[in-house]
């Protein structure tokens, strides 16, 4: 008899205790992950005192916060600087890294394989170990406080080279052979055949590289010195480390600074995740 009851219960499709537990667990985790975003939005509408007191309802201070933010930070300048560094940096990183990934994969030879293995090893070098000489290099050539100094050291990103080489393995060599027969030079074959056919690889890589420039902090903090060169991360950090940080203003600022990456994330979720995980496969 108890056996039949058990069978009946299973047939009715009642969710198992395990599944219920799974739902409870995953809902709690998701709530923890999402809550700070909600907090950020609420905070942006409240005055600083309410934010630091933990007020959890929308306030009326959004426009005041925006006006104050404009007084404290030259928003157009900071956004322009960050966009410049990010776009120029992303462009050159994709160019240099995809050429290298393509070169290593399409024109294999013994010496380059060895150099490639060595290149992968350099990924392990911590940034702290290079930043001091880097600072001195740029001081010597008088390029401190320039965007070139911010961008140049990360243009040859080994992880992006690796990503392009891995993706090039699935690129069909016949396309390039055909291009050669049609009389295209090797460079033309790269730009007219390879680049257009690897759009999704470029998209995924672009997202990651974009993020890393947009969010970079330590190196810009070291090389950029004047207010007219401020980037978003530097401006946020200096606002929050002032003696009396205005948290309502800061929350609004963080929303503005994070929104481009959020938009990219929601518009191109698949490439975003692919790019983030790309290096691990």
């Amino acid at each position: 008899m108890p056996h039949e009851q058990l069978l009946l219960r299973r047939l009715r499709g009642r969710p198992s205790a395990g599944l219920v537990f799974s739902y409870v667990f995953i809902i709690i985790v998701a709530a923890f992950c999402l809550f700070p975003f909600l907090w950020m939005v609420i905070g942006a509408t409240n005055v600083s005192k309410d934010v630091s007191m933990g007020k959890l309802s929308l306030g009326m201070a959004l426009f005041d916060n925006f006006a104050n933010l404009n007084k404290l930070v030259n928003l157009p300048l900071v956004f322009r600087n960050t966009a410049f560094v990010t776009l120029v940096g992303t462009f050159f990183t994709l160019l240099v890294a995809s050429m290298a990934g393509y070169g290593f994969e399409m024109y294999r030879n013994r010496h380059r394989e060895r150099l490639y293995a060595f290149l992968l090893l350099t990924m392990m070098i911590p940034f702290a170990a290079v930043m001091i000489p880097l600072f001195r290099i740029f001081a010597k050539v008088q390029l401190l406080n320039s965007f070139i100094a911010v961008i140049l050291p990360s243009v040859a990103s080994v992880i992006v080279i690796f990503y392009f080489r891995q993706s090039t393995k699935s690129f069909s060599r016949e396309l390039v052979e055909a291009a050669r027969i049609d009389g295209l030079s090797e460079l033309q074959a790269f730009f007219y055949i390879y680049v257009p056919s690897m759009k999704s690889t470029y998209a995924a890589a672009a997202i990651i590289v974009f993020m890393s420039y947009w969010n970079s902090f330590l190196w810009p903090l070291i090389v950029l010195q004047t207010n007219d060169k401020k980037l978003l991360t530097l401006a946020i950090s200096s606002l929050s480390s002032s003696y009396t940080p205005d948290f309502g203003v800061i929350m609004l600022f963080i929303i503005l600074a994070t929104s481009p990456t959020l938009v990219i994330f929601f518009a191109m979720q698949r490439q975003f995740v692919a790019g983030m995980l790309g290096a691990g496969k």
């Binding site: 599944l19 380059r112 946020i236 994330f265 691990g280």
Partner: protein, 304 residues
Amino acid sequence: MKTIRQSGLVRHHSTAGFHRSTGWMFVSFALILVGVFSIYPVISSFLLSFQTGRGAVYHFNGLGNIQRLLKDTVFLQALKNTFVYFIFQVPIMIILALTIASVLNNPKLKFRGFFRIAIFLPCVTSLVAYSVLFKSMFALDGLVNRMLLAINVVAEPIPWLLDPFWAKVLIIIALTWRWTGYNMMFYLSAMQNISPSYYEAARIDGANAFQQFRYITVPLLKPVILFTSVMSTIGTLQLFDESMNITGGGPANATITISHYIYNVLFRFTPNFGYAATISYVIVFLVAILAFVQFKLTGDDHAA
């Protein structure tokens, strides 16, 4: 050139040579840049670590910097903090990420896409932005304390930013929030490659969900777990943004990281590039050793 190309026989030979140089052309920009901005600096840093001085004048100091390092209480504190983050934060995060991934891998669970995105979303924020966000939530009379008081978990507000112990806990909470979803994505995509037949066989043998997780999922994911632990370890050793922006390294250097201390030696105190380089080489060695140890550990396990 034209004549060589026109003759079919020589042409093959010439394109091979041509391709060799073309290959170098494609990789040369990257190689030069890595040479100038990575390899030269890492060597230069090594040489610098045996020198001392101020401003622009440096002289050879032998192992003087290392002697100074061993007596430097702030450095030792930074080293200790880094180990605390590494020993507690990395395992907590990896176990949590594995658990979340295996829950999300259950096809019976609904809204999996939504949960996946929600848990991954913290990765979209910049390190500076989320650090400041956490700082604002964990003030003494702030949101988190108010909530904890309201549900009677604590009798008095926790001094998150003022107490050496709680400040470390705060950094660990923040890091876990930011990076769990990232690691979870790796596990999830690896789990999707595990054949369901393994689980079916285990169920027939009477294995419960935990046993399946322990004896099928974890062993098969070992390479990914290894990879993410190495990445997280290296990340932990290089922490900067959080220490700088959540706690400012305080109270009394209780949360300062090695990178943060290097920054202070370089730009907050009288700059001493030589000594800063010595400290940075501690990170280099720790990264090398820990990566090696972790590889060794999982390798042996695999063989057994």
